[in-house]
Amino acid sequence: MDPVTAMYVAQGMHGLAYGMILFLLASGLTLIFGMMGILNLAHATFFMLSAYLCYQVIAWTGSFWLALLIAPIVTGIIGVLLERFLLRKVHAFGHIGELILTVGVSLVILESVKVFWGTESLPVQIPNVLQGLVTAGGLDYPIYRLFIIGLSLVILIVLMLILYKTRLGMVVRAAVSDADMVDALGINVPLVFMLVFGVGTWMAGVAGVAIAPILTVFPGLADQVGMDAFIVVVVGGFGSLGGALLVAIICGLLNSYGVQFVSQLAPVLMYIFMAIVLVFKPMGLFGERE
């Protein structure tokens, strides 16, 4: 096979897989913001925590699959507890209080992680079936990247089905535009908030497990990938899932092809992209509110 084409395909797969991971992370962030008006600055920290939990579960059980199951659930439960017992308490003091709280929680998790696991970067092994390449049509595809893309697509489809085909989804979409009004119609919005928060942090957790074998596990994960996810939310438009998906994929591809074609510019490509979009659409591509 033509080695140049092969390289394009491989880079494309890397970019797509990273883009889908960014989407998993960004969609929770954008949903929580859209519904509750909270910019959850601890979101990327949950993502990092889940990567550590993944490492730990594998250390105990040797099973990546078990880690993929357990780490995001534990992360989601911690998210629910944060919402129920801390965020809800400071809600009355406005968004600044919520913002500061999420920063505080994020610092506590970061420091705890360093105490428990140190600051070294920890490797995560993927199971044999996910290693190596599959060949189709004369091209090689890395299996783990395909797996990430497939898993994210399944989550995306389930999420869309819930959002657009169930009453719960309808309530969430309505609450994104006017939560108080939904509450005044007799729907327990705080309960829905808690659920959305849990699902959002669960998805951040899945993203954390997915990234662990690619980037290894280290405390700086939250900043590194979190910044990209934040850009995705801003450019896609706060509260817009479709925007997050589109921009996450663009960013993933920019990231991997950027390294290949304009390697000196690669680290700032996302920022350039963000600046260009925001000049023309200050609310992001699909954003409606300030």
Binding site: V171, A174, D180, M181, D183, A184, L185, G186
Partner: protein, 237 residues
């Protein structure tokens, strides 16, 4: 007594927006809450609805103390709220907007007066033809009908309607008036804030007039008619 709000004191930060505000609504009654802009009519409704918490005072509905309860509890107790500015869900279809009003739980289907989706369509035929259209694409008058229909889907015992004819054409104003009259006939009590005095007078049994943050005058329509000082003080610009 269906609704009994007594000595409500509500603040926006340090600004004292309701000062010992009280009002009652009897079963089956239409009560108008009138006054100039910025007096606190919407604040009164929001406080009853639980969207604002009063620092003191009591809201009793159907014998139950609902003071300071979350809005969804108040709605479930039987109060429907049609806010100013309509606040439909612009990104949801007309049908979904209506379905958002369904509260779940028990609906007394034996009651012939119960509001169902079929009855809503009968009353507002344009909705049947546009079930899949996004709420944002409706005209102002249609959006007003949609908010009212949405709240009716929850079968409230008391409907609080805040300035329903604001910004509507004369034809639509009449339509809204007729809808409110029909709702009242179906056995639902109404608390109405309305700037169009003619509309308010044609519907209401009793009125409350608000001065700045407080209750100024209360009485029947006939008593208000016989009291030009009260009208001059609280209504005329």
């Amino acid at each position: 007594m269906l609704l009994e709000a007594t000595n409500l004191n509500t603040y926006y930060g340090e600004s004292h927006a309701l000062q010992d505000m009280s009002l009652n609504v009897e079963d089956g009654e239409v009560v108008a809450l009138l006054g100039r802009n910025g007096m606190g009519k919407s604040t009164t409704m929001k406080t009853i609805m639980g969207l604002l918490k009063p620092r003191s005072g009591k809201v009793i509905f159907d014998g139950r103390d609902i003071t300071g309860q979350r809005p969804h509890k108040v709605a479930r107790a039987g109060i429907g709220y049609v806010p100013e500015e309509r606040r439909i869900f612009p990104n949801l279809s007309v049908l979904d907007n209506l379905m958002m009003g369904v509260k779940g739980g028990k609906v007394d289907t034996s009651n012939a007066n119960i509001w169902t989706i079929e009855k809503i369509f009968e009353r507002f035929p344009f909705m049947r033809d546009r079930t899949n259209q996004k709420g944002a694409l409706l005209s102002g008058g249609e959006q007003q009908m949609l908010t009212i229909g949405r709240t009716l889907m929850g079968n409230p015992r008391l409907l609080m309607v805040d300035e329903p004819t604001e910004g509507l054409s004369p034809v639509m104003v009449k339509e809204v008036r007729d809808v409110l009259a029909a709702i009242c006939k179906s056995g639902i009590s109404i608390l109405l804030v309305e700037h169009n005095l003619k509309v308010a007078m044609s519907l209401a049994d009793r009125v409350y007039l608000m001065g700045k943050a407080h209750l100024g005058f209360t009485g029947t329509i006939a008593e208000l008619d016989a009291n030009p000082e009260a009208r001059a003080k609280y209504l005329e610009v």
